[in-house]
Subunit: 311 residues, 3 copies
């Protein structure tokens, strides 16, 4: 056997590999019936050391739609961890119960650590505020499906750009794909971290920071919304004032392009008004759906089955 591959962060894959994954996901989306047995007899261990229904169900659905089975836990309280077992031991044991591990963990770096003890592929399903690479894949496949390309776009990120790991990961990845201009729309308290800005600017990326969506909305090909969490603010008044500024509604996209797409990693609380849902530019539920297909492609790649079967 060749060396086992893992997905801990998007940088683990080359641009070509990412592009191929996205295209494979779209191929599966076009004809899912063709792939419904490719994981027959395979087991995915789904280890959620912290709950995340959305991510868990998306992976479960992906594996089941490929004909595989799923075991695991959705909460560390019912796991051996509660008895004081080390992560290394848990991984070594589960490694022999399954063919692939998906792992979500509250601690940064835990999935990376897991790869040292696993002889089967490990997928990072989110590690604290650090990485969530399958969210990035989900974003990419949605963009590709609706825009037909991954580069040469005017892209706006709106809301909490300081703490949102999905934003950091997606900006970095879109920059790798050659996008040269990003609109960063956030309150002063929640701007993109300086270190990331430096890194992007070194790569020749132009960052346009603004406070209000209305100032730039008509420029955008894609708008990525995020949630502003109360606990990020020092005081209640700032939160209430800013929260409303960053709620997207029909009025705020009145002047936007017709082929704009609006993404959001979900779950949403109230950062996008319900009336936007029926706007043809709203793509966040389609985005969630596409997440299943790109995860199907990823599972196939790591298990080397179906479209990724070896000659």
């Amino acid at each position: 056997m060749n060396q086992v591959r893992h997905l801990i962060e998007p940088e683990d894959f080359t641009l070509e590999e990412l592009m191929h994954l996205v295209d494979t996901g779209l191929t599966i989306f076009d004809n899912p019936a063709k792939y419904r047995k490719v994981c027959d007899g395979k087991i995915m261990a789904s280890l959620f050391f912290e709950p995340s229904t959305r991510t868990k169900l998306s992976f479960d659905s992906a594996m089941m739609r490929l004909g595989g089975q799923v075991l695991g836990f959705s909460d560390a309280n019912t796991s051996s961890t509660a008895k004081g077992e080390s992560l290394a031991d848990t991984i070594k044991v589960v490694n022999d119960y399954s063919d692939l591990i998906v792992m979500r963990h509250p601690k940064e770096g835990a999935p990376k650590l897991a790869t040292h003890f696993a002889t089967i592929p490990v997928i990072n399903g989110g590690d604290g505020g650090h990485q969530h690479p399958t969210q990035t894949l989900t974003d990419l496949i949605t963009i590709k499906r609706f825009k037909g390309r991954l580069d040469n776009m005017k892209i706006g990120f709106c809301g909490d750009l300081k703490f949102g790991r999905t934003v950091h990961s997606l900006i970095r990845t879109l920059a790798r794909f050659g996008n040269k201009e990003f609109y960063l729309i956030s309150p002063d308290e929640l701007t993109l971290p300086v270190s990331l800005k430096r890194q992007l600017e070194k790569q020749g990326v132009k960052l346009i920071e603004v406070r209000y969506l209305e100032d730039v909305v008509e420029e955008l090909d894609m708008l990525y919304m995020t949630r502003i969490q109360k606990e990020r603010f020092f005081n209640e008044e700032d939160y209430v004032r800013l929260k409303n500024t960053y709620i997207l509604n029909r009025d705020k996209i009145r002047t936007a392009k017709e082929d704009l797409i609006i993404l959001h990693p979900l779950p949403r609380v109230n950062e996008i008004a319900i009336d936007v849902d029926t706007d043809p530019r709203a793509a966040y539920f389609e985005q969630s759906k596409m997440g299943v297909y790109v995860r199907m492609a990823l599972i196939c790649k790591l298990l080397e089955v179906g479209p990724y079967a070896r000659g």
Copy 2:
């Protein structure tokens, strides 16, 4: 595709449809091996916003015996709801992860609401004190199996007739099937709600209300027992006194017909004495078993597979 069907309350189906479901369930019961692949490749999302092992496992078993797979959660604490997501959003997302949704929710009307956002079938697995239509289907298939018919019976309901949603739903449905006489056996505190009585009497149904089972037991073709819950009473003494009056034991069915059947939706606590279990008239465990088969029929109907496949 035709319009998607849901099951939120028994009235969603015509009498003919209910009868056909019951008969299909009996057909599957007679030859389950014939149906063990009809849901191959299908996924059921089992969304239990409040725990109910019995209902969940019955549905899981039904889907698995048809060759389908199951994903979901058994407790809202591990779901995105905990992050403040609306039910509408949860349903829209899960809609793309699965082919069929089974949903239990503490709030009345939640499954009905879900049908507004789903493009796949939704089954109400119980919504608060409101509806639990697959329990009614379970009751019907059991009656049909043991009595050979769904009409023309003398039927007694015993215990808490005020709060028991399974009782309300079953009485209404049996009245639709043309049953004209019901014996209502309960303490004064727990009689059938007046509005339901009015409704039934308008349909020409005769309701005979008594306090003691012994007064009518020899008349009955079927006896439906329910649990009397302590929290329904104002004071402990009333509860203790009445509880014992409404515990079914061998002595109380001494004079009953030989072909009486005794049903109970389960779980039971102590409202039926253990010594009744071995009486040939006790049908409540068979009832629980039949629940799997009628759910198999229901899943087939809503997914239009197997016996309900379209020409």
Copy 3:
């Protein structure tokens, strides 16, 4: 149909049956692909009235690798038990949802009780401090794989020999296989219970009790480690002093045989130092892996499928 078999304690099977199970497990291990459909269409109910991820996942993996499906719960809080249902009723109901029950319960004797109400096979997945027969099977298959035999060995048990149910069960079973000499290495506070010692000595077994592993390590063919739990001690100082004495490390096995195997039921906390893991004599992760294969053999035996299919 013949009488249904259960596994509640190792004594439920004859020596020949145990040996055959172990050998069947090894056969499946050598060629798992051959068995990956033998439980197609079968359902295992996995009823964990107390959490135990390791045991649950091992059984789930075994059933899935045979092509079967799994339903159940991993925590009694989400079960009907929380509504006051008796174990008897739960078993009678689940009996109709599945083809095989695996059950873990905090109360001794609960799985035995379950066999009175089940018409399908019941496997004890651990009942309090009492029995855990599939751990014993796991130990046996590991010994057979690495030593090629189950008898005629010098075997040491180290750590908590007083409360460790896996130790009691394994010693009794290895004595049945004709092993005549055991080294018992423990602090005075945690020696093997007198009643078990008497029983073994009556069978002609020689027990050599020592306090320090170093005194006997070079004699051993197999060393079985267990965890020393803090709550077993009257005072903190005794615990701290003894804990360190019974931590296995590289230094303590310096003089041991080259073909010694070291077992541990896992999870481990710190009773085996990490540096032992890479020693070729450490077999505890292989042991955990072998547990899946012997459980596959057991499931096949109880369901009478695959290698145990009838005529």
